[in-house]
């Protein structure tokens, strides 16, 4: 030991320095590769869409075809409504089934079945989920509605939230559950107030991932909310939605509508970024330390 302390530390051989440098370089390049498309998309959207953004765009309904002006206020409101509805369906069901998989159905046949079904559901193309909502809600109610769109998007949120909730709850050490049991706390109360609470930030991340994924979905909205050029706050009526409006404006023959489609896309991205950031900040203020 004494000899080791006195020994001169030999400089690293060149080969090892080189491989260290190469690994750092490769990792850094990957970061650039990931960030470049994101920045490019955002930059291009700003470049194309910012010019068409104005007060009218945010407050008015679409102008009749051929006329200049108008806006997407009703589509923005419609999207907020549909996304809120989808989250109201997807978040509780997803977290609930995640809790079941991690805390109650571990290793049981029924639990495995749910896990498998959830993974399959995750791979179902969104247009097929749209058709399902069409059959379940639109056909039975007799008309297109915001509700049908909310159901379609809500279903799409469930598998992502289920699996991330399950994984995050499994990360919580078993010893914390035992600590609560040792105090005479019931299993259900332990799950909610200790396990889920410890995993809060991870579970929220799952919810946000699911939210961001569905926020831009267009296909399932085509035959569920249908679109609307007027204001609508009735959940049972056809409603405008940003992705739909962008889609129909982008394939229109009018230059003004093309510019508005860009602005709509910019607003959609901003809407997603802001809601994700707002939830993150709210949660990080409310929690002390937790897994992840």
């Amino acid at each position: 030991m004494a000899r080791a302390l006195n020994q001169q530390v030999a400089p690293l051989p060149f080969g090892r320095k080189l491989s260290d440098w190469a690994a750092t370089f490769i990792a850094a390049s990957c970061v650039v590769l990931v960030l470049a498309p994101l920045l490019a998309i955002f930059g291009y959207l700003l470049y194309k869409g910012f010019g068409a953004l104005n007060f009218d765009f945010l407050t008015k309904t679409p102008a009749p075809p051929g006329e200049i002006g108008g806006g997407m206020a009703n589509a923005i409101a419609g999207s907020v409504l549909i996304l809120g509805l989808a989250s109201a369906i997807g978040v509780p069901v997803g977290i609930g089934s995640g809790i079941y998989l991690s805390e109650y159905g571990r290793g049981s046949r029924f639990g495995n079945l749910i896990r498998f079904t959830s993974d399959v559901l995750n791979g179902v193309p969104s247009i097929i989920i749209g058709i399902t909502a069409y059959a379940l809600v639109v056909l039975t109610r007799g008309h297109f509605s915001a509700l049908a769109g909310g159901v379609a998007l809500g279903i799409m949120m469930i598998p992502t939230i289920t699996r991330t909730t399950e994984e995050m709850l499994l990360l919580v050490p078993h010893s914390l559950r035992e600590a609560a049991y040792g105090l005479g706390v019931s299993k259900w109360r332990t799950t909610v107030s200790v396990t889920l609470r410890t995993a809060t930030s991870g579970v929220i991340t799952g919810c946000m991932l699911a939210f961001a994924r569905i926020a831009g979905e267009t296909a399932p909205l085509l035959f569920t909310v249908f679109g609307n050029t007027y204001w609508n706050w009735n959940l049972d009526q056809p409603t405008a939605a940003l992705p739909l409006q962008i889609f129909s404006y982008a394939i229109s023959p009018y230059d003004d509508w093309h510019r508005q489609a860009w602005a709509g896309a910019l607003i959609l991205i901003i809407l997603i970024v802001f809601s994700v950031a707002a939830v993150r900040i709210a949660v990080s203020r409310g929690t002390l330390g937790s897994v992840q």
Partner: protein
């Protein structure tokens, strides 16, 4: 006040593995009973049977009779009720990381829905923290800092405070000092002497000096069987079984 525990013909299994064979013993009220033995001999399994924590593990089960005071905990009571009377301190400190130090101590009361008014709760938490010799170290920061921000020894005393706050009659300790340094260990041992006034204590330990220091009674386990159970001095000075003597003198284990 503590109550005594009477164990009769306790058997425990993990799936098909028979972990405890016909264990019978009595832990006196307001005394400390130590459980010693080599790793894997069933010590932890044994004390986890005393508050029905054993059955938390999938496929684990136990038969026999364990009476806490007059109540047979395997007959006619729920595990939740048992654990309110029989608290537990674990090998590794396990404070709730998402709660403040204060909330950790209050957790048992709050989560059981028996939290008193705000002022009374503050008094209870203070009493528990003082009882666990942690009050002076955390009183200024206990409502801001997470339970996980404390040092290992402090965390373990926090866990003891958390257990005391629900006022159980028995406290089970599963190698409470094995993850701690000697100074923290000393503090916990001092604590055990004071805790005996209020609770009955059953402690599992790998450290035979510790058993000799804190416990009035000692049980020696080997291969899932209780080999010897007697007054601590007797077990350590004149053990009646050859295997106990071999273990204590360091010939195996």
């Amino acid at each position: 006040m503590g109550v005594g525990i009477t164990v009769e013909n306790l058997n425990a299994w993990f799936g098909k593995h028979h972990a405890l064979h016909d264990v019978s013993m009595i832990a006196d009220a307001n005394k400390c009973t130590a459980i010693i033995g080599p790793s894997g001999c069933g010590k932890s399994t044994f004390i986890r049977c005393l508050n029905r924590m054993h059955e938390v593990i999938p496929e684990a089960r136990a038969t026999g009779s364990v009476r806490v005071g007059e109540v047979d905990i395997y007959n006619g009571t729920s595990a939740v009720q048992v654990r309110r009377r029989v608290g537990m301190v674990f090998q590794r400190p396990n404070p709730f990381p998402s709660m403040t130090v204060f909330d950790n101590v209050a957790a048992g009361l709050k989560l059981n829905g028996i939290a008193p008014g705000k002022k009374e709760l503050e008094e209870l938490v203070e009493r528990a923290l003082r009882g666990a010799a942690l009050w002076d170290e955390v009183k200024d920061t206990m409502k801001k800092k997470s339970g996980a921000s404390l040092s290992g020894g402090q965390q373990q005393r926090l866990c003891i405070a958390r257990t005391m706050a629900v006022e159980p009659e028995v406290v089970l300790m599963d190698e409470p000092c094995s993850a701690l340094d000697p100074i923290s260990t000393g503090k916990i041992e001092e604590l055990i002497f004071q805790l005996k006034e209020k609770f009955t204590i059953v402690i599992v330990t790998h450290n035979m000096q510790q058993a000799a220091r804190v416990a009035e009674f000692t049980g020696f386990f080997l291969m899932g069987r209780l080999i010897e159970f007697d007054r601590t001095e007797k077990v350590f000075t004149k053990p009646s079984d050859k295997r106990t003597e071999d273990y204590i003198t360091g010939r195996f284990g």
